[in-house]
Symmetry: C2
Subunit: 352 residues, 2 copies
């Protein structure tokens, strides 16, 4: 830290990103194991704007395509440089020293980072003992409510009626539903934007659309909420999404069949992996995401993480009360999961 | 604005970005008229990391290549999603309610936007009557000093000794030199990072490297200053640069000959354009950038802007005291400048 630094920040700690990817079966940052579709890549090659020109500020075609997926209008869509950026914009736009934020104690680790960066008060509400969210904990909060659905790292899902009740009981503040993982088994609440002007839905191309490296996020909300986020965007970084990603993103939306097929593949592999892990004595939370949250009765979470890493399999362990026994395991290809299972078998044998 | 919005912002107003680019000779946002080099594009095609994986957080190879260009180390380089993002990071990192910022009254319009967004006090120091920067106005400020060099929209350059004197007289605060346009005739001060731990230099791939649409900026500074900016980056958006742009950026650095050749082309066209405009009675400031700042003795700036736009030529007019007579004109290809000159001739004839 230099003597010029004015902030007291506790930055986000991303999952390990080894420089030599070939050394690991990488199941630690919830990436999609499949590449973007050939059609999307071809579309990007053909339609990417000349790179010496600035990217399209309005990106109307992509916003229209995303709006159409949930029956909304382009004015209901904001694009961002990954969904982290739009989550940050939302904290900036809808919080202040007087209006804080509330989210579960176990959820996406970036929420408290944003709150601290924005200098706003925040409260972390404990999950139930089964690690599920109690909707009533988020009633009548008078502050920004932030919920990941399905939640991370648990993978547990809230139903549409729970979301509706939370919206209903927070008419005076924004409810931000982070649907990064919704395409792997959940039902988006984006359609509720037509009924609730306090609903903001965060989405990403990083997971179901296989574009983590391209950096594209988007939000659904009322035209007024999206307008507020655009005001923030034009105060931070108007040209926030690059031209190649805008073209590839539209290509990916146009080839929705591919995304749906790969999501089905991942759900199938998830079912297989859960079954295989349960056979080996693991307890696995029911997951609606492209990852599972699992613990072994005899092997502490940190030990399993380390033993897997020593065998070339990267998963994510959170050294945090209540979940220290667990590991979060991304669902990759069948071959990747078999490599995980083989490593697990070896570890279990050694432990005995 | 929604009733949930907590901020009082005055967002940046970018130059017009018409949806149908084919209708205009676009000389209004200082884009490079030449595409990225074929070699850089080929390098990107070959080396772009699989897009389903997150982008490389450390991007060590690109940082090393940029460091080598000015005799520094990778630890002296930060990468960002365009240079706007890193300018914002600098305001966040080095300002506070107690430590404001100072910059010229006529400069890049984003500086006051960042100051307002960060809630910090700021002062705009008037340029001299000839629109040049008086270095001594920035001595002993005890706050973040921000200077574009060459300045925008004037194109005027400060010499290395002026920069050094400003650094010398601000040892207790950061001096941010925004070198977005330095490759078109200036001399970078990045080497001074070895001597001054308070120097931060902002650079971009948008101008000289023809990559405005790819979004890549970078900063040079002491390892401690860069570390502070990394702390901010990891609190805002760690995966801020996408994989395609990281690969294309490295390809562009490796093909420095192409960049230098295109910069020479633009400087040559700039000389030609200035000569032709002066022949037509314009006063043009001496420019070290890829744009010129020009006024006609008889045609008000706003009228010229509108008349050019009506003829399909977009330039940028700032409706601001002291510079309202001027227009900022990007240097494009020779053919684009001839189109500008033809439109000017038509307008001058009409005005008589």
């Amino acid at each position: 830290m230099s003597r010029y630094f004015t902030r007291d920040l506790r930055p986000y700690v991303p999952g390990e990103q080894p420089e030599d990817l070939s050394r690991f079966v990488k199941l630690n940052t919830n990436e999609n194991p499949y590449p973007p579709s050939e059609k999307a890549l071809a579309y990007a090659r053909e339609h990417c704007r000349a790179l010496n020109l600035y990217s399209d500020l309005s990106a109307r075609e992509l916003r229209a395509a995303l709006a159409a997926e949930v029956g909304l209008e382009p004015e209901n869509v904001l694009l961002s440089n990954g969904s982290d950026e739009l989550l940050y914009f939302a904290f900036l736009a809808f919080c202040s020293a007087q209006r804080g934020a509330v989210f579960p104690d176990i959820s996406y680790g970036f929420y408290p980072v944003f709150a601290r960066l924005c200098g706003i008060p925040y409260r972390e509400v404990p999950l139930r003992s089964d690690l599920s969210i109690a909707p009533e904990d988020y009633f009548d909060r008078h502050e920004l409510v932030v919920l990941a659905n399905p939640n991370a790292p648990t993978g547990l899902l809230l139903g549409p009626e729970d979301i509706r009740s939370i919206l209903e009981r927070n008419r005076d503040s924004v409810v931000l539903i982070d649907e990064a993982y919704i395409d792997f088994g959940g039902l988006s609440c984006a359609g509720l934007v037509r009924e609730y002007d306090n609903l903001l839905v965060a989405r990403t191309f990083s997971k179901s659309r296989s574009m983590a490296g391209a950096r594209l996020g988007y939000a659904y909300g009322s035209a007024a909420l999206i307008g507020d986020l655009e005001t923030v965007r034009y105060s931070v970084n108007p040209y926030n999404v690059n031209s190649y990603t805008l073209a590839l993103g539209l290509g990916a939306v146009l080839d929705g069949d591919y995304t749906r097929a790969r999501c089905r593949d991942i759900q199938e592999t998830r079912g297989y992996t859960i079954q295989m892990l349960e056979r080996r004595g693991f307890a696995v939370l029911p997951s609606a995401a492209n990852f599972i949250f699992a613990r072994h009765p005899d092997i502490p979470g940190a030990a399993l993480y380390a033993a897997l890493k020593a065998r070339g399999v990267l998963v994510r362990h959170f050294d945090k009360p209540r979940i220290t026994d667990y590991n979060r395991i991304t669902i990759g290809t069948r071959a990747q999961m078999d490599a995980l299972l083989a490593a697990v078998d070896e570890i279990v044998r050694t432990e005995r």
